[in-house]
Amino acid sequence: MFYRESGQFKSAYAADQAMFPILQDRIGMAVILAVAFVGVPMVANDYFLSTLLIPFLIFALAAIGLNILTGYCGQLSLGTGGFMACGAFAAYKLATALPEMNIVVVFLLSGFVSAAVGVVFGVPSLRIKGFYLAVATLAAQFFLIWLFTKVPWFVNYSASGVISAPPRDVFGFYVTGIEATAEAKYIFCLSFVAVLALVAKNLVRGRVGRAWMAIRDMDIAAEIIGIKPLQTKLLAFAVSSFYCGVAGALWAFIYTSSVEALAFDINRSFQILFMIIIGGLGSILGSFLGAAFIVLLPIFLNVVPTAIGVPLSTAMIAHMEFMIFGALIIFFLIVEPHGLARLWQLGKEKLRLWPFPH
């Protein structure tokens, strides 16, 4: 009754093409942002911020990255972890080699480093498609992790192979290192993710996104209307790896503060892939929903059985997670390939008609 577009007439194409054409959505988004930036840091405790919200934001960013490549451009990648590792180690090398460089610049630059690596591993996508490409991205995954584990230069010759984030500040607030508060870290992550999510949304709704989707839906027809397949795919690889790289850098610097290459192994790649399948292929919103789901599920499995008196062992929880992810992936692929995002949309359609369902 309150959520509908009647009475909101659009008189310009610009208004029709806006991100949130309906007024209620615009208000909703503004409220979410206000709560996220102001409300949450005021009420949430450190535990809540640093074990739930920060990983959620970082996962969402990586999921956006993979969604651009797989959901929008149709190129399945199992190498997300490798590209995240690229970002993490590039950020570490940059931050330690150039201590006076602003940490925001460091993160962006490490994103570009990942983008370059992504392009290199994207080149085979011209010749190969589908699961062949998936195997090619596995090559990236295994090679990159090996590289960061075996070549001591990447960890500044530390014996443990672990990199620790040096303390850095933005506008006088520490965002990395031990002096950084959870609130500062959270706000920093949130700003990064909000801006990059907006950029991603802009890309996918314009010329670039249409070219990606054309390649995804039918690459031959796309080429025949003048889309250059290699450039378009490589651009998707670059943008996707940029997002994954920045996510990896945030992971290493903000979330865990110290990390080894194995944190980005093949299981990380699968985890991100699950987020986009469950959240929704080809949807920015879905990347957030999928990330939220994957962050919340283990907590749910931990808390609920304990609450009803049958606590599960850690191993059991891990196995249950595996089963639930596996089952959900099959479920979503069969029933709703557009994932949670599509369910959300259907919910809105219903709401639009409420309380008169027909």
């Binding site: 149709g74 010749r127 699961f131 195997v135 090619a136 090559a139 070549v151 196995h319 596996g326 992936i329």
Partner: protein
Amino acid sequence: MTGDILGFLFGPLKEIWEFPIFFVEVVIGGLLTGVMYSLVALGFVLIFKASGVFNFAQGAMVLCAALSFVGFQELGAPIWLALILTLATMLLMAMAIERLVLRPLVNQPAIILFMATIGITFFIDGLFQTIWGSDIKRMDVGIPKEPMEFGGVLVNTFDIVAALVAGTLVATLAFFFQSTRIGRALRAVADDHQAAQSVGIPLRTIWVIVWAVAGLVALVAGIMWGSKLGVQFSLALIALKALPVLILGGFTSIPGAIIGGLIIGVGEKVAEVYWAPGIGGGIEDWFAYILALVFLMFRPQGLFGEKIIERV
């Protein structure tokens, strides 16, 4: 600098020249590992040929088969009973997969089916570890592991047995495919689903059979790998190596799977022994993938695959 690189590249060649017996041992070791890769790859090829599904879960099936086999034995079943029970489990699994995953997803794009098999992978990994536990289990089916000597070359007895088992399995499958009625039906389905259905071949039964046969192959691979390394989760990851093997051999060719496996096995062993020490070791993790990747750039259809002609 240039000298270093040349030394790194060509130094090992000198070593090979000077100690040929050791080189032969390395190659044989590689060939035997390759046989094991081929065993896993074979399961992929069977399913791909008959249903066009690229079954990512083959590795998980290897793990599940090995886990069940050891698990039944731990419960007190003798080997033969454990074998039968495991086979029954794999058959049940094949039926469940056909009913719950393949049937609802029929006619979906290949990439969707591929992702669905990733889902299967995780589901059965979780399920079987929930049932049988995730500790490393020792498997012993009574194959001796002493080294034997052939003309100065040391070879592990176990590896020879593994190679013989693999050979027998391949020969049996080849016979099954070429000469039996079910085999002909399988090949018909592989060629054209709809045409096969229209001449009365029951598609669903065929799928169940193929997945069950792939389960059998997984069991053999699981027993072999399991006796060698112990039954543990990493078996599922070793099986990922079958992917580059397939790329090399072509997705539709049984001889391709065998030869691809041997090439990868020898290639990565030789590279690991001779070249890896110069760059930090452990290149077995990725060598096969990069080899496959380079190969893909030049021959996307694999050694034995059919050339792909695109149509509009």
